[in-house]
Amino acid sequence: MSAADAAQLPDERPVQLVDEQGVSVTHEKYERPPLETLLAGYSALVQGRRVNEQCNALVRQGRLAVYPSSHGQEACQIAAATVLGEHDWLFPTYRDSVAVMARGVTPEDAMVLLRGDWHSGYDSREHCVAPQATPLATQMLHAVGFAHAAKLRGEETVVLAMCGDGATSEGDFHEAMNFAAVFGLPVVFFVQNNEFAISVPLSRQTAAHSLAHKAIGYGMSGQRVDGNDFAAVFSVLSEAVARARAGSGPSLIEAHTYRMQAHTNADDDTRYREREEVQSWICRDPLTRLQSHLREAGVLDDEAEERFAAEAELVAAELREAMNREVSVQPSELFEHVFAQRPATLEQQWELLQDEIVRTEASA
């Protein structure tokens, strides 16, 4: 293997900059981000955790149809959203609602899909966030094309595409890596390896040494990072974003994390994993680790903790209130957006439905 090839290989152990006890770890390549970045990150993690809990509660109350929680993955969510510049684009999946909110989308707008009002509830152009993708790995290709257009116009946009470990088995994942590497595009592929694709463990997705090792097969660099270490995820992603912006092409970052809760509320994870395994990840929690580190560094005290908690509570309360309001959904919208100009065939079908609505309302 040439030195250039070897340089693309990920570290043997996932990059860690703050260990499970909150103690700094030195790394020859990556530096721990400044404390102010970590403190802002911590505040966002607290909010993300609270939103995850709130959304789970809203499902139980019948206010959301479903919620795929990122509980335990908040460090990945916040880092992915905050390493990007204002005009960079994020391509998230259905589990990345916390990342979407961290890009400035209101929790209410982010929940439109899962509440069932529409298929996406925020203005993608305003926030530079693509609609959350439900079909696996398909959005990786959209990210690639988006970056390709930016590169052709000579713009500095960087695109960060998120997916999970299960999605790495899809053909579109492979095609996206390959296209991005061949055309040298400014894309960061960010895989949150949370060990499970609903019930199927990572060992059934790949026989590779790690998911990050796949990068070298495409001729791009790969890196593994402790996905529950916010400092490390932020630092590794920042480096990949900077490299993409400098024209050095795409990279594949695999974050080792864990889905602490079931796939969604409709899933029963006691059928496929041991409680001991789930418990073992509690001591690696991304929040407590960052909290210990910041307290030890003297930048986080009780007062700041209370302030962060109160801010998170406010966000949760607003979300709760918004989800408890009855929204009026408009059947006319079903026909309004299919085409830029509504064809006569759909005009007739809308008229049929309109008649039905009028008759239904009259008899009610």
Partner: protein, 329 residues
């Protein structure tokens, strides 16, 4: 037609000209796919474009159809108008998920914030002696998918004007190119604009209406000529846009004759032809002298080259169908 804007050329050349003119007019137009660069496409539709417009405007991609369509989606989200080539009908199937789940739905999903102005060019149909996977009539898959506009030209003029309209469209267009007509010649006036969503009467007639699109229009016109020798006045409607369907033109035509035959190469079951047959039966029932017939491919996989002449709808089959339409004479 104006003399200074009119030339005689093949359909392949007309498509090439439409691509070139669009590349000139709009810097956001891009052409990419497999072998579309130096080679100029396996049917030479993109011949010379890479040399003339440069590698940034017309380029080869890795051999991966989902990658081509999926990245075109991202490009369209980011201000480009990609025109991508699927090399053959059956080679577009790896991109099916991207087409159905994203190309067709992104505009609706985002309430129009992310419309996808892109064109997917697909050479389709038989009649060229192609081996398996090279002759499918796959239009029904796309026509069945809400959010897609599906177009198929039958002459070099239509190829030019409809492709220009497809590239200018705010919405994604699946552009089905009848590959057996790539080398057919006709006059092309570049000043003629076409409207997507409009069918056209390709031949006037009073006794029966043949409804066809793409490769089958030629069959219909030939059958009309033969039937004329037997004293029947046959009208031919060229559907041109498979979806959204132009009920107005088609129904007006059928009501004027009272008889109709739908012609298409695709297997007839759950097809565009069966949809047209159903629409005509429903909307023209009081005007019909006979049941609406259809002449289509059989419900079998497309035939190998030595048997395809038994598979494809031909003039005789169309004449037989016309003859069965409850004539009083």
């Amino acid at each position: 037609m104006s003399a200074d804007t009119t030339q005689t050329m093949t359909m392949a050349a007309a498509l090439n000209l439409a691509l070139a003119d669009s590349l000139v007019d709009d810097p956001s137009v891009l052409v990419f796919g497999e072998d579309v660069g130096a080679l100029g496409g396996v049917f030479r539709v993109t011949d010379g474009l890479a040399a003339r417009f440069g590698e940034d405007r017309c380029f080869d991609t890795p051999l991966a159809e989902s990658g081509i369509i999926g990245s075109a989606v991202g490009m369209a989200m980011n201000g480009m108008r990609p025109v991508v080539e699927m090399q053959f009908d059956a080679f577009a199937y790896p991109a099916f998920e991207q087409i159905v789940s994203h190309v067709a739905k992104m505009g609706n999903r985002t309430k129009g914030v992310l419309r996808l102005p892109m064109v997917i060019r697909i050479p389709f149909g038989g009649g060229i002696g192609g081996v398996e996977h090279h002759c499918d009539s796959s239009e029904a898959y796309y026509a069945h998918t809400p959010g897609l506009t599906v177009v198929s030209p039958s002459t070099p003029q239509e190829a030019y004007s409809l492709l220009r309209a497809a590239i200018a469209s705010a919405d994604p267009v699946v552009f089905m190119e009848p590959k057996k007509l790539y080398w057919s010649k006709g006059a092309v006036d570049t000043s003629i604009a076409a409207s997507i969503g409009k069918a056209a009467v390709a031949r006037e007639g009073n006794d029966v209406t043949l409804i066809a699109y793409g490769p089958s229009v030629q069959v219909a016109l030939e059958a009309a000529a033969v039937a004329a020798e037997d004293g029947r006045s046959v009208q031919v409607v060229d559907v041109r846009t498979l979806t959204p369907f132009d009920d107005e033109t088609v129904m007006q035509a059928v009501r004027s004759t009272g008889r109709a035959v739908v012609i298409s190469e695709a297997p007839g079951y759950a097809s565009v032809a069966s949809e047209i047959q159903a629409r005509v039966s429903e909307q023209c029932f009081e005007y019909l002298e006979a049941p609406v017939r259809k002449v289509t491919g059989f419900d079998i996989p497309f035939a190998p080259p030595k048997l395809e002449h038994w598979y494809l709808p031909d003039v005789d089959r169309v004449i037989d169908a016309i003859d069965s339409l409850h004539w009083e004479d």
